[in-house]
Amino acid sequence: MQRLTFFAPFLALVLVVPLSACDRGQATIAANGDAHHGAKIIRQLGCGNCHTIPGVADARGNVGPPLTRIADRAFIAGVLPNTPENMRAWIRAPQTIVPGNAMPDMGIDEADARDIAAYLYTLH
């Protein structure tokens, strides 16, 4: 019991420190990934056919919502907190997350999703 009392403050510190990661600033930290390559993939896949995306040529779609300031947005697709992990998950498999929604599953692999997300997280 005395040993527990001694270690309690260190234990508390270990448990509390990770909580500091739970602020929205995490979303503005770019996901690991190549944003340049991400912009290229975005253009190739035709994301701009449905979305207006700053910095991507001809990305002026108005089928889905604009991706302006997507890096600062609190939610992805209205249902996911905006984190790099959730962003990649949404990009890879939107039909799994909101079945029947208008965004198709495009068969994007993890590396490309990371690069796409890296580009999107430059959009403040």
Partner: protein, 267 residues
Amino acid sequence: MSSRHGPRDSRLFTYVSIGLVAGVAAFVAQQSLAEGTPPPNVQKPLNVPVSPLFPNGGAAPPPPTQVKQYEGNPTYIAAGHAIFDHYNCSGCHFHGAGGMGPAFYNDGHFIYGGRLDQIYASIYQGRPNGMPSWAQIIPQQEIWEIAAYVKALSEPSQQSAAGSPLPLPTPAISGGNVENGAALITKNGCGSCHEIPGIHNATGTVGPPLTHIAGRAVIAGVMPNTPDNMTAWISNPQAIVPGNAMPNLGLKDNDVRDIATYLYTLR
């Protein structure tokens, strides 16, 4: 119980157990609520064969009556052309010439079948490698019209009929007041979550921007943008996408109508 476990331990145990049970119960309730609610606008898909093969040498079912009704009909073709443009199908199928998606100038050779009901099924169900399923977004009649247009593109004799689209009516709500709509948007704090042109301090980044919302094809990712769907969404977003981040504000029907009227000025 051994005397090593004091009263504080058993209280902690009680609180944690209550929390766990409540959490699990809430999760299960939310899951069953989500599963029990059928998605809007989805009717049973047609049984459309995509190949001439049929088990046991049997015959394919006769094509549905819509094939005769919609095929080659200039009004439906023109309407389909307008809807094709509205959903930006040209984004992948550039005005029928293809691109990311296949071309429709194909002499009737479609990957998943060129009969009208097969084209309908491809649009309704979606197809691998990026063709979305439009079942929940586009009403069935409009999918038939798009199919009629697409099929007209594929037949050289009908390509001239596929010329000019009928103009789609711009969404409008009768009887709504634009100024009151703007005032209600301000009063209800919509701008704290959404960027909304023309509304003071409406720069929120919780939800998507409402720039050009009048021309947007899809509302909330799940409904075609029509006045009825817009008012339904504003009135009760939780009924349409349970658990999504937009709250029910308990607005009266007249107020919803005025808000939608304002939004439809945002072209």
